[in-house]
Symmetry: C2
Subunit: 242 residues, 2 copies
């Protein structure tokens, strides 16, 4: 067995997709049709389709069929995230919305405590607000954001924070963010995240971890955003240091 049957089949279908023979949104042959056309068992036909799903090329809907994915991504600019987010989205022809899931004072876990440079003396106080929010683009959940913000800021701007992105809210209230350190990585959806973002288990996600500092080098916000890899792209401009 040089090349598995299911792979040969999924490769042929894949070519038909990338060559445009199957257009985005179009329906693929049904499992039954594949069984007949390639003279294989249903399991093998299903396996071939699973390969395509796993490559992010198609998705399946029970009772309806298998369809070619649209590949439209929205770009999120890291270099000017402060004020222009909504405008940026509109420019890309996308309606954005935020659903607040959790907003409450908590005693932060140790690594958060460290990045926010909180001293240990107040260990039992509610020194930060924890916010979980869902970012919707065109009514589709695209990212889930978990933010820790210093308690006085969280308390003061609670209402605004629940309805907007964090950085713009701070900027609008005169809290200047001087720099943001961030990392970008990749994971796969676990069952909980797959619920929130309405994606299958294991779907590739991007992880954007950030910490924002004032001009006195005081960290005020840290958190991470899990976003759907098939819907979001991050852009950044790097300038040479002097």
């Amino acid at each position: 067995m040089q090349i598995p049957l299911h792979l040969a089949i999924s490769e042929q279908l894949r070519n038909q997709i990338t060559s445009g023979e199957f257009q985005p949104g179009e329906q693929l042959p049904s499992e039954h049709q594949i069984m007949v056309q390639f003279e294989v068992s249903r399991i093998t036909a299903r396996r071939a389709i699973a390969n395509l799903v796993n490559q992010g090329l198609v998705f399946s809907q029970q009772g309806k069929g298998v369809f070619v994915k649209e590949q439209r991504k929205v770009t999120y600019s890291l270099s000017s995230p402060m004020i222009f987010f909504e405008a940026d989205m509109l420019r890309q022809g996308v309606r954005s919305a935020i659903h607040n899931l959790i907003f409450k004072p908590v005693s932060p876990p140790s690594p958060i405590r460290q990045t926010l440079q909180l001293t240990a003396n107040h260990a039992n106080q509610r020194e930060v607000y924890l916010q979980k929010k869902l970012l919707l683009l065109d009514e589709i959940p695209v990212a889930i954001d978990i933010t820790y913000i210093l308690a006085d800021l969280g308390k003061r701007y609670a209402n605004e924070l629940k309805q907007q992105m964090t950085f713009p809210t701070l900027e609008q209230n005169g809290i200047a963010i001087d720099r943001v350190t961030a990392t970008l990585a990749c994971t796969r959806a676990d069952p909980e995240t797959s619920e929130y973002l309405d994606v299958p288990l294991g779907e590739p996600l991007m992880v954007y971890c950030y910490t924002a500092y004032t001009d006195t080098d005081q960290p005020i916000v840290t958190g991470e955003a899990l976003s759907r890899g098939d819907r979001l792209t991050y852009s950044v401009e790097i300038r040479k240091r002097d």
Copy 2:
């Protein structure tokens, strides 16, 4: 059927992994053991394992078994990619190496021509060098990079470019890079990439697309790097504009 059997099983195993009951590198129960323990058919046992593979938690080796993945990632700094790459890797305790796959003059495809601001008159000339190279960290292929560089630079520094990263090579030769525009996104391994990077089909990858400009705003290099999402993290520092 509220919750599928295969999911229930994979969830239980997942808990045992995240709780540390199964350590990284440790072997999971075999398909046969799962069949007996949960009283399911082999297909269902396999499906449960497939769920875990798909979440990036385990990997399987024919004839040996299923093992918990190590989760060690290396950080690549976008803010100082110029000179410090090798030093950065060493600091993280990682041996880095580069395998040159392709290095040749080509007539660039239209989108590349545009980003490099090449005029159409020379359409049939070999105005750029195309380089494909593999980045190995600890002898493991981690990223595949496809670079287009202006022909005179490519020709002049051919030997160095084949052995080092692109940006450091240019810096060392006095070609100052003033700024880099980049995007970071997510895809999944297609069959070709899965060969190069030695990962299963559909493995999440990061896509780093970049264009470098001189201080006269002349683009000199553009390209994209496909990296293994389970091995590489990108870091960046964003400073407020004035």
